[in-house]
Symmetry: C2
Subunit: 320 residues, 2 copies
């Protein structure tokens, strides 16, 4: 939950004057997202999400994210569409921060997704990968193999406070990933953070993707591995192979995975689990007690790291 920066009616009025969106009717802070401040804005012409980008976001990268949403939307992928300013741009300044408005997307993110929803995510992810193929801009994944060890060095001293086995298991996994991480898989634009709260449904149909602020260019199959971690484990951290099967086969039907991608799924999945364990551990250690940020438990991803260690082929995830 997050509204880090409140805005006054005068500031917002001046900002909206840069757009052709009619008169302001209301704005409410939204208790979602942990990186930026988000407001639902109603004007006489429609509903929009206004985002103020907070310190974790690099302003120089915003054109990539906003351009990507525009690109995907133009190719039929349902996602927020940046609203053009009168000056033709999509990025402005509000309360001293970079800020953008995007279209409001109806839909519900699922607190309890079922296997059918995982199939929708697999299909939608593959469609997004195909639609991103001709996106002209590029952005390095800032949370991939090379970034993990520096992140680990910053929080490893506190790892034992979380779990006695965490340090040794992380070291062992990091070494294996550094030795074996696949380098030549088909690449393209990936979402890189496609958790349930970033996927909307209307009824049982996927209605859109949101929150592209980790999107980057990387191995497409890594995005699949992120989704296996995010969608196919139960609350007790057990892998649900029915969900894995649904997600992988639906993906594969739209964008067939290559043999190399299939072979790499276990190591990519282990890497994805490590990536989320590391950022959670870092946040856990670094977030002051009085903060308004909800801390997410790194142990959930330690459990997933352990699961992936025992998988050696993609059939272990349910791929037919």
């Amino acid at each position: 939950m997050a509204v880090y920066t409140d805005i006054t009616e005068a500031e917002l009025g001046a900002f909206l004057a840069g757009y052709d969106v009619g008169e302001l009717q209301s704005y409410r802070g939204i208790a979602e997202g942990v990186e930026n401040s988000n407001f639902l804005v109603h004007t006489t012409t429609g509903q929009f999400i206004l985002t103020l980008y907070e310190k974790r976001v690099n302003e120089a990268e915003l054109p990539y994210f906003l351009g990507l949403m525009r690109h995907l939307a133009d190719r039929g992928i349902s996602c927020p569409v940046p609203v053009e300013r009168r000056d033709g741009g999509t990025l402005g300044t509000l309360a001293g921060r970079p800020a953008a408005m995007v279209s409001f997307l109806e839909g519900i993110w699922l607190r309890r997704p079922q296997a059918g929803h995982c199939a929708e995510v697999g299909r939608g992810l593959a469609e997004m990968h195909l639609a991103g193929a001709d996106f002209a801009m590029s952005r390095r994944n800032g949370l991939t193999l090379e970034d993990w060890r520096p992140l680990w060095e910053k929080s490893r001293a506190h790892a034992a406070d979380v779990d006695t086995g965490l340090a040794a298991e992380t070291e062992a996994l990091l070494r294996r990933l550094e030795a074996e991480w696949p380098r030549d898989l088909p690449g393209g634009v990936i979402h890189a953070d496609l958790f349930p709260d970033n996927v909307f449904f209307l009824g049982d149909r996927l209605s859109g993707f949101i929150d592209f602020y980790f999107a980057c260019n990387d191995a497409l199959a890594y995005d699949v591995a992120v989704c296996l971690n995010a969608w196919c484990f139960e609350r007790d951290h057990a892998f649900n192979i029915t969900k894995g099967r649904a997600l992988l086969n639906a993906y594969n039907a739209v964008r067939p995975l290559s043999d190399a991608e299939i072979a790499a799924l276990p190591i990519l999945s282990a890497g994805a689990a490590l990536r989320f364990m590391l950022t959670r551990l870092y946040d856990w250690v670094m977030t002051p007690e009085g903060s308004l940020v909800i801390k997410k438990d790194p142990l959930e991803y330690l459990a997933k790291m352990r699961f992936h260690r025992a998988i050696d082929t993609a059939s272990g995830y349910g791929l037919d």
Copy 2:
């Protein structure tokens, strides 16, 4: 900012099945309100605010609050209107908590209200008082004179941590209020918490009141005194008599204050300042450090207590 209770799509779907509001399109937690969990719900028939009542709210009192909103709306006061369930009631259960849906009100609450807005509030408050005159239900003010000393006893031990003069000044004011609190002023339904974040504007016109969960039956002029405290001081805690004049004269033009009410304004205003100082102090002392509730500074109201001490007639607030 507050969403204390998250809800699943299945829970919400079952809840909405009790209403004739069409299909669910989206729901987002709103980062406003500090007592309850609020969601903006879109359905195929409209937009609603869904409130889950948390522990501070007494369920037995909810029919008063919901009935009052219905009553005021029927008399032309713009406020959220409770949506009727198929069973004719307005109160349901969601995620184990009492829950209600009300209509969504467009409008903006003003972070920086000006004197013209204070006049709108004075006029609107008087209209609300008149509209409430024939409301059949009654509720005791749970934060009036008799409640202040018990509240004080719970936090006075920590008062010195906030300000060295706080304990002595509070004791002195409490004694004076206990001796002189007016008892025979014209009574009726009061909002009792009409701060800027509970009043919406469209442009410079008041567009509605929200958050009736402190409403009760008490002296109408006490509500005016609350508004003087809430609307007519600047950020440096200085009283702005232009705002006070605007608010009081606009109120007086719609519902003329009696001589007794005018004479009582200074003591009512001092009491209102004490009431908000006490609840802020209590929250300050009792809220654990890691809580997601934003603590409001009790010192702001100590400054207001001091201001009111020096006022002996309503002309000191700007009443013509």
